[in-house]
């Protein structure tokens, strides 16, 4: 089989992994090729609008597992291929030198057993880093069940590691991935976290100490393959951030690739739901929200017509309206239509002069959303009444989502 065919098969098998980011590492170029940009760089966008920053491939798609949702399951009749470490290194470096990519994202199906697979991955990154002197970004999958010593040695060479949870509940795993369980996934995650933290301490004392997974670890959850509500997904996310110090949790709208009586039938992948989860994810990480504020048992799913922050604000109107010239940073962040950049700008601009609605517009605040929740120099321009129903209607009108919904005639 030639290289092109292998690339075709093994990129196709890897594309359902949504992680693409190349940020968070400051690896510098030590006399070879490549470095990491801390902000991350996107190099292209594929036809589905997702960014391409890493050469995302599987090492092999021969798999001993038979997970129902996965395209590479053992019982599927698909073309199989395996790279050699040399081939992966050659592709990565040739692409990198032409500035096609920011680095390598290497994952793998489980061939023979977890240890053997992990060894192959380690061999590949060793070749890239130590033989070819490649200093670009590398994201590697840790294989659950592999020897911790192998995972440790790999961690010293790569920028980011991830273990995919895929299904957000134990029941889901039991049903769709009977050969995996929660413990076998969380164990390597905990192991990596412990060593990242240890490494950070070590590097405070010895600046030259080698880095261990400097860009942190991430995971992926499939949304819509099993019946968990958003609340459960978001609570899981929150505990992953708090207990495992993850850098990112990715959500992947379920795309049916196999047919099975255990899998739901979907006409379209739930893309809007995925989008709402990402919005909520940002609120958890950067805006000081907690999962319990955004959703609860009585309100377990996100409203598809309003973004999570709007939805929270509308249910908690007693916090509003907020005076732009007085509110503290934490409160500004909670106003719909205000982001981190505009909140910071407001803080520095109002030191010079008191702001009014015109100034906010210039700063980049999305007034059509914020206007219902703020006052400027004591003035409120949101409308004559201040209640939830009125705002839902007005905000709903400006949210494009409503455009393609049939309006009810008689209510």
């Amino acid at each position: 089989m030639d290289l092109k065919q292998k690339l075709d098969i093994l990129a196709d098998a890897a594309k359902y992994d949504v992680s693409c980011s190349s940020s968070g590492s400051t690896r510098s170029n030590r006399g070879g090729v490549g470095n990491a940009a801390v902000s991350g760089i996107c190099h292209s966008w594929s036809d589905d609008g997702r960014c391409v920053s890493l050469l995302k491939i599987l090492f092999t798609n021969y798999c001993i597992y038979d997970c129902v949702y996965c395209i590479n399951r053992a019982s599927n009749d698909v073309q199989r291929a395996t790279f050699t470490p040399e081939e992966v290194a050659k592709l990565t470096i040739s692409f990198y030198r032409r500035n096609y990519i920011e680095g390598l994202f290497l994952s793998s199906a489980i061939i023979k057993n977890p240890d053997y697979t992990m060894e192959k991955l380690l061999q590949t990154v060793h070749l890239l880093r130590n033989v070819h002197n490649f200093n670009g970004y590398i994201h590697l999958k840790a294989i659950p069940g592999a020897d911790p010593r192998l995972i440790y040695r790999t961690g010293l060479l790569v920028d980011r590691m991830s273990v995919n949870i895929e299904l957000p509940s134990s029941e889901g795993l039991k049903k769709l991935a009977p050969q995996k369980d929660k413990q076998s996934i969380l164990k390597p995650m905990g192991f990596i976290r412990t060593h990242i933290q240890g490494n950070q301490e070590e590097r405070k004392m010895f600046r030259q100490a080698p880095t261990f997974v400097p860009a942190g670890q991430s995971t992926q959850l499939i949304v819509g393959a099993t019946p968990e509500p958003d609340f459960q997904v978001l609570r899981l996310t929150e505990s992953l951030y708090n207990n495992f110090s993850l850098k990112r949790v990715y959500y992947s709208a379920y795309v049916p690739v196999n047919t099975s009586s255990l899998l739901p039938v979907v006409a379209q992948p739930p893309l809007l739901r995925e989008h709402r989860l990402y919005q909520a994810d940002w609120l958890l990480r950067f805006y000081g929200f907690s999962a319990n504020e955004l959703l609860n048992e009585r309100h377990p799913n996100f409203d598809l017509d309003f973004d999570p922050k709007e939805d929270w604000a509308l249910r908690n109107l007693y916090h509003f309206p907020v005076e732009i010239n007085k509110a503290d940073y934490e409160m500004l962040l909670r106003v719909p239509g205000l982001g981190i950049k505009s909140a910071l700008k407001i803080i520095s601009a109002r030191r010079e002069t008191a702001l009014d609605f015109d100034d906010l517009k210039k700063i980049g605040v999305i007034l059509k959303r914020a206007i219902y929740f703020i006052t400027c120099k004591g003035k409120y321009y949101g409308g004559l009444v201040f209640n939830e129903e009125f705002m839902r209607q007005r905000l709903g009108q400006s949210n494009r989502q409503l455009k393609w919904q049939q309006l009810p005639l008689f209510d």
Binding site: D12, I41, S46, D48, R98, N99, P269
Partner: protein, 250 residues
């Protein structure tokens, strides 16, 4: 209406600004010789670039305003937006009055203009760090043609000098006839420099080049998930005007 005409270099602009601060009647416009269109009321004054004067202005901005302000005006200058020079002059006038606080005045029209131009330049610079494509030529030089909206070559070059440190490369701005060249043989500590380079350059690919372009196209096509196709989103992130030199989009 007094028009200050300068040679288009950054030092030239700083010299013009120096002259503007010391002339009894401030300029209505500051433009390059090439962009100047005389009209009935225009009175021209030719500014000769003077490195001593430009150095003075450079240092004064850094010390009396801030290095951020210096970066802002350099990026604004690179934006090549029409009339940006006179806005730079206004911004500096305000800056010498307010000092480091100037960049907090985000609702001031002058500050907004400069910040806007700065953002455009920084954004395109970041964008092209990703979208630029090298092709390996027969003489073992990696060659990248670009046609950016703004004159960002001097910002791109240091990035690639750090990153592609062990290969000879050349980034060619076809719109401006400029090139950044990085040579391993260079004896200077800074291994890249800017040259003017003719637009009609003949190039010849190295042997393997087409093979790797083909592999990349294969990967690019395969990695997209068909059920999620969203061409509008793709174009939003990667405007069509950049596609011309992108291997996967040709």
């Amino acid at each position: 209406m007094i028009y200050f005409l300068y040679d288009g270099s950054f030092d030239g602009l700083l010299t013009a600004i120096y002259e503007a601060f010391y002339s009894p009647i401030p300029p209505t416009q500051i433009v390059t010789h090439d962009n100047f269109i005389p009209n009935l009321f225009s009175e021209e004054r030719h500014i000769t670039t003077d490195l001593e004067k430009s150095e003075k202005v450079y240092k004064a901005i850094k010390e009396k305003i801030s290095s951020t302000a210096l970066k802002n005006i350099y990026h604004a200058y690179l934006s090549e937006l029409t009339q940006i020079e006179i806005w730079i002059y206004q911004y500096l006038k305000l800056g010498f009055k307010l000092g480091v606080r100037i960049d907090n005045r985000v609702s001031d029209e002058i500050v907004m203009k400069i910040h806007h131009a700065e953002r455009k330049v920084s954004f395109e610079n970041h964008r092209l760090k990703g979208l630029l494509r090298f092709q390996l030529l027969k003489n073992q030089v990696y060659y990248a043609p670009i046609e950016p909206d703004h004159n960002i070559l001097s910002l791109l070059a240091p990035h690639f000098a750090r990153r592609m440190a062990d290969q000879n490369w050349l980034i060619h701005d076809l719109k401006r006839g400029l090139a950044a060249v990085y040579s391993l043989e260079s004896s200077n500590t800074q291994k890249w420099s800017l040259f003017s380079l003719d637009k009609s350059l003949q190039i010849q690919f190295a042997e393997d080049e087409e093979l790797f372009q083909d592999l990349w196209k294969t990967f690019f096509k395969t990695v997209s998930i068909e059920e999620r196709t969203n061409l509008k989103l793709q174009k939003q992130h990667m405007p069509v005007r950049y596609w011309k030199y992108m291997v996967e989009k040709n």
